[in-house]
C-alpha cells in the first residue's frame, strides 16, 4: 500500500507540474509566432503590445488617451494594458519571474536593479537608427540616471520636481513676506520657525519621509550620496555633515517639523495637514494639483522653488518606461514608447497637469505655465533641469535606502548625533556596496 501511495502522489505531482509549466509555454508561443511572421507594413496584421499601467484614475485616463491617439495613427499595433496596482515594484518582479512580463514596463526608481539583471533591452540602437527621435530634448541628469555601462535602459515620461507649497494666509498672520524663487536656506529656516506654533499644533514645515527628500537637502548643501564612480559612499564629506546637522536642526532642535515617528503616528498625509492649516509649508510634486483643484483649499496658497544653498537642486517623482528584453516585437514596442515620450505624448501629460513632461518640450511646458494654477506654477518648470536623482544609479538602492533611513530615523527621533549618524551611515553604505 505504501508503494502505491507514493506512486499516486508522484503521479499527482507530475500532473500538476506538467499542466502548470506546459500550459504556460504553449500560450506564450501560440500568441507570438503569428504576428512575427506577418511583420510590419502589412496593415491587416495586428501586433499587440502589452504595457504596464498604474496610478490614479486620472493618470490611467491620461495613458488611455495617449494610447488611443497612438492607435489611430498605427492601426496595426494594439496596446493592451497590464494593471500593476499600487505595489508596483513587487507586481513587476512577479510578472517578470513568472515569465509573462509586459513588453513595456512601468518603472519608478528600479531601472538599474532590473538592467543589472539583464531584464531590460538597451535603447541605444533604436535611438541611433531612428532620426525622428531626439534624445537631446530630455534633461541630461535624468537620462544619466537610466544608464548602466554607458547603455540607456529607460526613457522618462512624467517628471514631478518637488517644490515648496505654502499657505499665504499663515505667512500674512506671521507678518512674513511671501518667499521668492531665489530665497535661501536661512530665509526658509527663519520662516519655518515663525510659522511653527505648538499651541495650535501648527508646524512650519514637514520633513517628508517620502522618497528621498532628505537627499535634496544634502545635494543643496553640496553633499552627495555616492562617489562619482558609485563604488563608495560619499556621506563622509563635511558637506554631508552640515546637511545632517541642518536636518537635525529642523526636526529636533527647532522642531519646526514633526519627526518621522510623529509623522507615522499622526497617520495623516502632508497635504491633509496643509489643508487643515496645521502645516504652513511642505515639499511635494505636481501630483497635489489635481486634488487642490477638485477641492479648493480654504485659504490662499502658492508654490515656490526649494530654498537655495550651494545650489538649488531638487528631487522629483519620475515615471519611466523600459522595454523588456524578451519582447517578441521590439520594433513595435519602440514605436509605442517613442510616441508616449514624444511631443504628442508629452503635450497630453501637460494637459492633465499631474506632472511635467519629462522632456524639455517648450510647447508642452507652456501648457503648464499657462494654466496659472497656482500662480507660480513656473517654479516646477524652472526646477526641472536641476532635478538630481543620483540614487537611481545604484543597483542596490532599495537596500541602501533602508540602511540610510534607519540612521536618519535615529537622528531625527533625537537618539543619535549627526556625527554618529554620518559615521554609521558611511560604514553601513560601504558594507552594502562592497558585497
Amino acid at each position: 500500500m505504501k508503494k502505491f501511495s507514493l506512486i499516486a502522489m508522484g503521479f499527482v505531482l507530475l500532473v500538476g507540474l506538467l499542466t502548470g509549466c506546459g500550459g504556460n509555454a504553449n500560450s506564450t508561443k501560440g500568441n507570438d509566432t503569428e504576428p512575427v511572421n506577418k511583420g510590419e507594413g502589412n496593415s491587416g496584421a495586428s501586433v499587440t503590445i502589452k504595457m504596464a499601467i498604474s496610478g490614479s484614475e486620472q493618470e490611467q485616463k491620461l495613458r488611455y488617451e495617449t494610447a488611443d491617439l497612438f492607435m489611430k495613427d498605427h492601426p496595426n499595433i494594439k496596446i493592451e494594458w497590464v494593471d500593476i496596482g499600487n505595489e508596483r515594484y513587487q507586481k513587476t518582479l512577479t510578472l517578470i519571474s513568472g515569465g509573462n512580463p509586459p513588453d513595456i514596463l512601468y518603472i519608478n526608481d528600479w531601472t538599474l536593479p532590473l538592467a543589472t539583471r539583464g531584464v531590460l533591452m538597451p535603447l541605444d540602437d533604436f535611438i541611433k537608427e531612428d532620426h525622428s527621435f531626439n534624445l537631446d530634448e530630455f534633461y541630461p541628469s535624468i537620462i544619466d540616471a537610466y544608464k548602466l555601462d554607458g547603455k540607456l535602459y529607460g526613457l522618462p515620461q512624467d517628471l514631478s520636481p518637488t517644490v515648496i507649497y505654502y499657505n499665504k494666509d499663515l505667512f500674512d498672520q506671521a507678518n512674513l513676506p511671501y518667499p521668492a524663487d531665489d530665497w535661501t536656506q536661512d530665509d526658509f529656516i527663519t520662516a519655518a520657525k515663525k510659522l511653527t506654533n505648538p499651541a495650535k499644533k501648527q508646524y512650519g514645515f514637514i520633513l517628508s519621509t517620502w522618497n528621498t527628500e532628505y537627499d535634496g537637502w544634502m545635494l543643496r548643501n553640496g553633499a552627495s550620496l555616492f562617489t562619482p564612480d558609485l563604488k563608495k559612499s560619499a556621506v563622509d564629506s563635511p558637506e554631508a555633515l552640515k546637511a545632517l546637522q541642518l536636518l537635525k536642526q529642523i526636526v529636533v532642535d527647532d522642531h519646526v517639523s514633526p519627526n518621522p515617528a510623529e509623522i507615522q503616528a499622526m497617520g495623516q498625509y502632508d497635504y491633509a495637514l496643509f489643508r487643515n492649516r496645521q502645516l504652513a509649508m511642505f515639499s511635494s510634486g505636481l501630483w497635489q494639483l489635481p486634488g487642490f483643484k477638485a477641492e479648493p483649499l480654504p485659504f490662499k496658497w502658492d508654490v515656490v522653488r526649494m530654498p537655495k544653498q550651494v545650489n538649488q537642486a531638487t528631487k522629483a517623482g519620475v515615471l519611466s518606461w523600459s522595454i523588456h528584453k524578451d519582447t517578441k516585437h521590439p520594433k513595435e514596442a519602440w514605436e509605442v514608447l517613442k510616441f508616449f515620450v514624444g511631443h504628442e505624448g508629452m503635450k497630453l501629460v501637460a494637459k492633465y497637469s499631474m506632472a511635467l513632461p519629462a522632456s524639455d518640450v517648450k510647447e508642452a511646458n507652456q501648457i503648464i505655465i499657462d494654466s496659472k494654477f497656482p500662480v507660480n506654477v513656473k517654479a516646477f518648470v524652472d526646477s526641472a533641469p536641476l532635478v538630481n536623482m543620483e540614487e537611481f544609479r545604484h543597483p542596490k538602492w532599495s537596500e541602501l535606502s533602508v540602511a540610510i533611513n534607519e540612521q536618519l530615523d535615529r537622528m531625527l527621533i533625537g537618539n543619535q548625533s549627526p556625527e554618529d549618524t554620518q559615521k554609521n551611515m558611511f560604514a553601513k553604505m560601504n558594507e552594502i556596496m562592497a558585497e
Binding site: 500500500m1 499527482v12 539583471r117 515617528a261 532599495s398 537618539n415
Partner: protein, 297 residues
Amino acid sequence: MNLKSLKIPTSMKETLWAYVFISPIMLGFAVFMLYPLSASLYLSFTNSDGITVAGFVGFDNYVKLMSDKDFIKSLFVTAYYTLGTVPIGTGLALIVAVILNAKIRFTTIYRSAFFLPVITSMVAVATVWKWLYNTDYGLINAFLMNLGLYEPPWLASDKWAMPAIIMMSIWKGIGFNMVLFLAGLQGISPTIYEAAKIDGANGLRRFVHITIPLLRNTTLFVFIIAIISSFQVFDQVFIMTKGGPAKSTTVIIYYIYQNAFQFFKQGYASAMGYVLFAIIFVITMVQLKISNRKDVN
C-alpha cells in the same frame, strides 16, 4: 478503460477511490506547500535574486547569516515580541475562559465578544489600532489625558512601538486561546470539583490544584501554537510601523520580506526562513520534552 476488466481486488479498488477523494487536498498541498517548501530549501543554497538564473553557493547564505547584525537584531526583536505576547496572552486567556465557564448570564455574548477580534482580519484590526494609538487624536491617549496620566508616544517611539504592537496582538489573540481553554475546561469532570468542595477546598485552591493540573495538555498546546505564531508575526508590523522607528519592530519575518522582495535576495531570505524553521522546531521539541518529563514524575 473499464476497471472491471482489470480484475482489481475490491480492497485495492477502495484504496484507489480513497486516493481519488483525497486528491484535491493532496494536489493543493503539493502545489501550495510541498513545492514552495522544497523550492525555498533549494533556493536557500543559491544566490537567487528571483529574476536571473541562480548559482549554487552551498552554505554561504547560512554562514553569512551568523554574522548579519540586522538578522540577529531581528531575532531579538522577535523574542521580545514572543516574551511579551505569549505568557500574558495565555494567562489572560485562561482567566477569561475560567470566568466564562462559570454559570453567569449572557456567557454566549461575552464569548462572542472575546472571539470577535480573532475572526476579524489583521489588516483591518491593525489599521484601527493605529488610529487608537495616534498621539494627537487617538482614543487611548485621549483617555489617559482625561485621567491626567502619562501619554506614551506609542508607535512614534522606538521604546513604545513594540509594547504597543504587543498589547494589540494580545487583544487580538485572546479569543482563540480562550476557546481552546474552554474546550479543555468542559473536559474536566464536575465530580472532581464537587469532591473538592466537600473536602472544603475554596475557589482559589480548586483552581490551583484541579483546574491548572488537569488543563496541562491544553496549556501545552496553547503555548506551542502561541509561540509558533508569535515567531511568525508580520501583518501588524507591516501595517502599523513598517519595522520602524529605527528598526525597533523589524521582526524576523519582516526582515525576510525585505530581503526577498525589496533587496533581490531570495536565496538569502530563504536561508533565513529555514533558520526560523529550525528555531521553532527546536523550541517546540524542548517544550514537548519538558512536558513529557513531568508525566514521568
